[in-house]
């Protein structure tokens, strides 16, 4: 008999996700149910395989979907912050799907890496040895939240693959530089994010290549993005093109734009307010007009897994 010891980041079984809201766990059945004609299905299948590195996402039995109410797919894919494609929440779903093709896609590993180089994203994903699905809470710094089933692999695998040198302390990632015509459509440069190396090696840190068992849509950060569920959403850099190991703390994009409001750590913390609004509670996306707010949890509910990373640090100073 097999005894399953649940991982401590699994979400509690207190509420059950309605099956209708979330059941397309495996891609094959999803493709079958599409029923939009063989040609359409074939087209979709090839795209899906490409974006997932030819590997199906396995819902790891040790990491079940859990019980939080998963945000409806339509909402998670049309309410996005992806400023390269516009500053309104509804902009990316439109603008990221007008000719922008994140394939082929090359990811470069550099800086203090023992194994530097450029990899095609599909080859890189294959090297990570299979995809898994994890359902994480997602808390935006703007005080709203979602629950997303991500498909991907732990960031730690990628870090191990890159073989950072002993003096490396941080990992720095940047997104593509989005140019429309000859105008920079982003922040005057590529979006930049970073983690301390021990944060990057934490078991929660994840690279997503899919959501809801489907290839990740452009507006959600195709073909691969960072997911750090204990941090505010803006840490989850989308459409990564370069990963670098450094000795110095990277100055992430939002910190460059407004360092009094956004820091390097950006850990979800109900006790440290944003200068313009409270972080003590959040609105759940999909809740409707009268849904109210729910309390925001320390480290977004992942205190057990990550609190040790910040022991002895003043989280008011290192926000």
């Amino acid at each position: 008999m097999r005894i399953r010891i649940p991982k401590d980041w699994e979400l509690p079984e207190s509420t059950v996700t309605p099956e209708s809201a979330y059941r397309l766990r495996d891609r094959r059945s999803f493709l079958k149910t599409l029923g939009a004609g063989a040609a359409g299905a074939l087209l979709l299948r090839s795209r899906a395989v490409a974006a997932m590195g030819g590997l199906p996402a396995m819902a790891d039995p040790d990491y079940p979907a859990g019980s939080l109410k998963v945000t409806p797919y339509e909402l998670a894919t049309s309410y996005n912050n992806f400023y390269e494609f516009g500053t309104d929440k509804g902009d990316p779903v439109v603008n990221a799907n007008q000719g922008w093709k994140p394939e082929p896609w090359t990811v470069e590993i550099g800086g203090l890496a023992g194994n530097p180089g450029k990899w095609d994203v599909e080859d890189l994903i294959r090297k990570m040895g299979g995809l898994e699905e994890r359902v994480y809470r997602h808390r935006c710094v703007e005080a709203w939240s979602m629950v997303i089933p991500w498909d991907g692999f732990p960031l730690r695998k990628l870090v191990d693959f890159a073989q950072p040198k002993p003096e490396a302390k941080y990992v720095r990632m940047n997104s593509f530089r989005h140019v429309v015509g000859d105008q920079d459509a982003g922040f005057g440069g590529p979006y930049l994010e970073g983690l301390r190396l021990d944060e990057a090696r934490n078991e929660l840190a994840f690279i997503a290549t899919g959501i809801y068992g489907k290839p990740i849509p452009n507006q959600n950060g195709a073909p691969l993005r960072l997911v750090t569920p204990w941090k505010y959403g803006f840490k989850g850099i989308k459409s990564i093109v370069r990963i670098e190991f450094t000795t110095e703390e990277p100055v992430n994009t939002w910190q460059q734009l407004a360092s009094n409001e956004y820091g390097f750590y950006a850990n979800v913390n109900p006790n440290v307010d944003h200068p313009r609004w409270s972080q003590a509670s959040e609105r759940v996306i999909g809740g409707g007009i009268f849904s109210g707010r729910q309390a925001t949890l320390m480290f977004n509910g992942y205190e057990k897994q990550v609190a040790a990373l910040y022991r002895g640090m003043d989280l008011r100073t290192f926000y």
Partner: protein
Amino acid sequence: MAWLVKLLRSKLAVWIAIVLPGLYPAWPIWRQNPTVLADPLKYLLHHYGFVACILLAVVLSFTPLRVLFPRSPLALALNRHRRLVGVSAFFYALIHLTCQILHEDGWPTFFTDIRKPFLLVGLLTFIILLVLAVTSFNFMVRWLGGRRWKRLHRLAYLAAALAAYHQAAARKLFPVQVLWIFVPLAALELARVIKERAVRASGT
């Protein structure tokens, strides 16, 4: 041109122009626009705040237009509706505030958050608009006396400046629409002040 003047003089036309933006959110909600449905309350909150800002800027542009173009029938037509448009800006601000109270899920969060300058300035703007709306009745003008009433209602300019800050602070990055709304207004006011000074200087 005559038809435009006629249209702008019509109370009904102005009423329609004022009420339509309030009904507009029914459209994306009926169409099940997923971006709106993700957080419909936030959408309403931003929409009504936006409409209130526009109406405030519009009503404040009436006087400078009349001063700059004293013989234009268009400017005169618009100036018939100052009270209606001004009070409607207050009503949209009231809906906006109601959305904010709902959005904060009740008073405890509302009162903790209101200490933030961004929200405090919004509330201050609302209080000014409330005072101006309450004193907009004819009997209030009589009770206050024309000069005092006029002085009090100059607070509308302060409200516009505060509203511009409040709207700019509502997003993570500076939203360009603030400039679209308030820069033309500021330009009009500046031109008006210059002209009034010139007239006064030549008159005396």
